[in-house]
Structure formats: C-alpha cells, structure tokens
C-alpha cells in the first residue's frame, strides 16, 4: 500500500447549537485505500462527510482533502472529489445520457471527453438499451451504479459514497462493490459509509463512530482480533452498546 495521504483530519468538530454532532475526530486516509466509515444512525457519519466534501463548515479542528483545506479551499476540493449520496442524486426526468452530459458539463469536461466517457460508461454497465430512457424509470440498483459511474466522470482523486447500497439486493450490492474495487485499483481513493457489516469486511480499513467520536480504527482483521470477535457485526455491536 502506498503511503501518500489524501485525507488528513485533526480534531474536526461540528457543533449544532449545544449538540456536538462530530467531536474532535482525527484520522488519515491513504491514496487508493477503501476506507469504511461506520457508525450507527445519528452517530455523525454524514455530518463528518459533509465537512470533508466542502458543503458544511467545520466548527473547529482542521482537515485537508486532496491537498486542499476544508475552510478556505472548498471549491478546489470539489474539483478533486466525486460524491454519491444516499439519495443518488441523478435527475429522474433526464435520460441516462442527458445526466452524464449534464454532470460532465458542469465539471468542465470537453464535449469530446463527455461523449467518450458517456459511451464507455454505457458500454461497461451494459446500458445500451436504456441509454435514452429516463433515469426515473430504471430499477434502484441500476440508478446506483449509474450514479457511482457519474461521480467518477471527472476522474476524481477521492470518491465519497454515503450509504451507496441502501435498499438493494445482495447480488446488486456485490456488483456494486466490484465497481468500487475496480475504481480503487485505478488509484481512486474510496471513502464509504455503510450500515452493512459484510461490506465493512471488504474495506481496507474501517473506523467506527459512536456518538460523534471515532471509537475504533483499524483493518477489519485487526479489529476482530482486538475485540475477540469473529465478525465485524460483533465488533460493531460491542462498540455501539458500550
């Protein structure tokens, strides 16, 4: 594993009124790593991620994403990252091709590059038949795959995935993770939040957040040894209940 660090977080905090959603979290993510960001509902995962992708200002602490500061260089961060939310935000009333063109366009890709990327994406996902169908008419699993591919359109250094596989069958989830591996092999860093503990096993390293704090951070193997469990599920339950 290469030792180049692409996300550096030190004491990052987000306070809403008198509620501390994220409490002085610190961690590093290396280039090309699949970093699992785990935690129960309301543990502060999404809040922490929003600070890293530059759509929420931190209350204190520091963070550096792809070499840019989250306070002052959010627009530079946005050029270097991809993002896919749990609501997989493609336009339902645009076709697959139109979505690709629009997002390619606002990332500033050239016309040629867009049509090149668009053809490649459609071919890889086997979407030839539905390329001109409205996204709204496609099954959820397909939408998620397309959304993921769209988030990679501008060749970002890091991709942030916020619960990308919610609500789909195990086969589709499996296929989705194959896509994630492929992107990671190409050198893209993957920062992913999930509820599925089997998915946590696929990650290179995972952090587990409880009530705004990171309670554990290591490889799945080490975590299991440390907590004396045979599955990540057990590790998660032990941490979340303590």
């Amino acid at each position: 594993m290469k030792e180049e660090t692409v996300i550096k977080v030190e004491g990052l905090t987000k306070v809403f009124g008198d509620f501390t959603a994220v409490n002085k979290i610190s961690f590093h993510v290396r280039k090309g790593e699949i970093f699992g960001f785990l935690g129960a509902n309301g543990a502060g995962k999404t809040t922490a991620m929003k600070m890293l992708i530059g759509i929420s200002s931190p209350s204190s602490g520091s963070a550096n994403v792809a070499g840019f500061d989250v306070y002052t260089q959010t627009e530079d961060i946005k050029k270097s990252i991809g993002y896919m939310s749990q609501k997989f935000a493609l336009y339902d009333d645009l076709t697959v091709k139109e979505n690709i063109r629009f997002f390619g366009g606002i990332y500033g890709l050239s016309k040629n590059r867009i049509s090149q990327k668009s053809n490649l994406l459609i071919e890889e996902l086997g979407l030839e038949k539905v390329a001109h169908s409205l996204v709204g008419s496609l099954p959820l699993g397909w939408k998620q795959k397309i959304a993921f591919s769209v988030s990679l359109l501008h060749d970002p250094k890091i991709v942030f995935l916020d619960e990308p596989t919610g609500g789909v069958d195990p086969i589709t989830r499996r296929q989705f993770w194959e896509m994630i591996y492929k992107a990671a092999n190409n050198g893209t860093t993957i920062f992913v939040t999930t509820h599925y503990m089997d998915e946590a096993e696929y990650c290179d390293r995972v952090s587990i957040m409880v009530d705004g704090n990171i309670e554990a951070l290591d490889t799945p193997k080490n975590l299991k040894t440390h907590f004396g469990s045979d599955s990540m599920n057990d590790v998660f339950l032990k941490l979340a209940r303590s």
Binding site: G54, S57, Y83, A89, Y91, D93, F102, Y107, G108
Partner: protein, 373 residues
C-alpha cells in the same frame, strides 16, 4: 460560459418534458387573460331595481320609465309599501329602491323642492357609489327635460340656464374597461408564472436531493443562477408575446407606443421577478413553503399595484409602500406605452427604478444561495 449552456440545456429539457406543467405555463395564463379582461370591470350592470310609487301619476311613471330605459338597471319590482321594499333589500332581492313621494307631480309643477327617496345597498361601498352616480344622472336628466317642458308650456320668456360639463376622456376615449384592463392582466400573468416557476425551481432540486449533488461540484454560484434563470426569462418573454398578440386579436387593444420599448422594459422587469423567485427559493425547504410565500407577495403586489384600485386613493403609508412594488411599475409602463404611446424619456423614472431593483434582487439571490451551510 460553457457550464451555463449545459445548465440551460438541462432546464429546457426538464421544462418541456414535464407534460403536466406545459399547459399550466402557457394555456392557463391565456385563459386568465380572456376571462379576467372580460369579467374584471368597474362598470356596474344588472342592478336590481325596485320602487315604491306613492304618486301614481303620469310624471312618476315617466321617471320610472327613465330607469327602465337605462341599460344599467334590471328586474323591476313594484312595492306597494316601504316595508316590503325594506324586506326585499334585507333579503338581497334589490340593490336600489326608489321611493316617489305623494304629490310628486303636483309639487314639481309648483316648483317646490322634492325629496326623492333613494335607498342603496352599500355593503360594497364602491359599487354603491357608482350606483348613486347612475341614479343621480337619470334623475337630473329627467328633471331637466321636465323643466324644459314646463318652460315651453308656460310661455315664459325667462329661460332657465342650463350649464353642463362635457367630459373629454383622453387616451381611452370610449372609456372601454377592457382597453384599461388588458395591459394590466397581461402584467399579472407574466409576473405570476415567472415568479412561481423560479420560486419553486431551486426548492424542487433541494427536495429531490440533486441540489446537494450540484453543491459538491465546483460550479460557480453565478453560473448556476444565470443558467437557472435564463429559461424562465425566455418563457416570460414568450408569454408577453402571446399575450400581446391575443390582446390585439381578441380585444383590439391599441398599441400606440413602441413595441421594442415594451420588450426592453419587460426584459428588465422579468429579472426582478426571477431574482425574487430565487431569493424565496433559497430561504425555503419545500415547494409548498415557496408557493405560499410567493403567493403572499403576489397578492400584496397585485392589490397594491394600481391595477384594480387607484394608488392615488390609498393612504400615504400605503402609497409609499407601492414604491417597492415592481408590478406597479410594470402596470404603469404597460398602460403608458400601449394606450398613451409614451416613449423612452417618459418611462425613464420607472425604467431606472426597475433596473436598480433587478440588480439588488439578483445580487441578493446569488448572495443567499449558499453552497456551504
């Protein structure tokens, strides 16, 4: 610049793909123009008229006939006694009751002062005022004819001097209310459609979650806003065009001024409304909220625009508030250019204020759109 084109392209596709919205955007406003221009009139017609004739003479019947001949009055009811007429008024069967006193004819010939009883249902004060004018006019003409008759009969050398004002109505010579209303209604439909569309647009993306996706892209705020507004600006201009054509074809509304000036002013005016819509959009979380707020402003703007009630008769503080009402300026300009043929120098004050308004509103829209929370 290229980024803006991609946004405009996307917005147009979405608008024209929405088969439910298209008729709302283009057909409803035109129905509005046709219906409102015909229905919204200050003229009061079909006044239900009743009378109590205590005189029963040739002259009293002649007076009633005058009312019968008028096109404003309808439904003639005779009441033998004021009690019945009062009851009918209470039940809303009549709007106006004329009571002719006993010895009306005799007193008239004797040149005595006569008091005719006129009772008007004044729940709608403005209508009552107009009805009063109609009634007074009829009675006056009747009295004048009568005195002329009397003069001729008595062979008197002293002729009564009748002084009469002959009003001259400029710019709308026939006092055609449609000519007056059509430009105003046109303003309404251009304003309402563009405000509602732009007001709900960004909120809709918030609701769908696509705005968050936009916010994690390196898109520039003003690129996004310009891209978002331009399609609605085009729609607004399109509506003006369709509206002007319909005004000409259906209502034969005159267009005395320059069409180019009209378009120039409207192009700036729509920017004010779009900026306002986006501003609302930025401060609301659901389309419902945005709709209510937009509606709140539209109602105030319309009622205080001088479209239905003259601004001159509003209280001073309200007159001051109308300075901040963009619809007021547009109504003024529309009427000035279409009916009076005003030129650029005539409308310069309104033009400058509107342009200033547009700059402020859009600066606020861009400022209040935050990619970072």
């Amino acid at each position: 610049m290229r980024v803006i084109l991609y946004i405009i392209d996307k917005e147009f596709r979405q608008i024209f793909r929405n088969k439910g919205m298209l008729p709302i955007i283009f057909i409803l406003p035109l129905l509005q123009l046709v219906i409102l221009s015909n229905a919204a009139t200050y003229e009061i017609n079909n006044i239900s008229f009743g009378y109590v004739d205590n005189d029963h003479t040739h002259t009293s019947r002649a007076l009633i006939d005058k009312f019968r001949a008028s096109t404003f009055f309808d439904v003639f009811q005779v009441f033998p006694h004021p009690k019945e007429s009062d009851l009918a008024m209470l039940q809303g069967e009549v709007d106006v009751v004329l009571t002719i006193p006993e010895h009306f004819e005799r007193d008239l010939w004797k040149d005595k002062n006569i008091d005719l009883g006129v009772t008007i249902n004044a729940i709608d004060g403005a209508a009552a005022g107009v009805e009063n004018v109609y009634i007074t006019q009829i009675i006056k003409t009747f009295n004048k004819n009568l005195s002329v008759d009397m003069v001729q009969l008595s062979n008197n050398t002293v002729r009564p001097v009748l002084i009469e004002g002959i009003p001259l109505f400029w710019y709308n010579k026939t006092l055609n209310y449609k000519t007056f209303m059509v430009p105003g209604i046109l303003v309404l439909l251009v304003t309402m459609i563009t405000l509602f569309l732009s007001g709900m647009n960004i909120v809709r993306e918030k609701e769908m979650g696509t705005l968050e996706q936009i916010n994690v892209t390196p898109i520039k705020k003003h690129h996004f806003i310009i891209g978002k507004l331009f399609p609605f600006w085009v729609i607004g201009m399109g509506l003006l065009t369709i509206g002007l054509v319909m005004a000409k074809l259906i209502f034969a509304t005159p267009m005395l001024g320059s069409l180019a000036l009209m378009y120039f002013y409207t192009s700036i005016y729509i920017l004010v409304i779009l900026g306002m819509g986006l501003f609302i959009s930025n401060f609301t979380d659901t389309q419902q909220q945005a709709m209510f707020i937009a509606w709140f402003f539209v109602v105030i703007f319309i009622l205080m625009s001088g479209l239905f009630t003259p601004i001159e008769s509003m209280p001073k503080w309200a007159q001051f508030l109308t300075e901040f009402n963009p619809i007021k300026y547009f109504v003024e300009i529309m009427r000035m250019v279409m009916l009076k043929g005003s030129g650029l120098t005539d409308i310069l004050p309104q033009l400058v204020k509107t342009a200033l308004y547009a700059v402020i509103m859009n600066a606020m829209a861009v400022w209040s759109y935050k990619k970072i929370t």
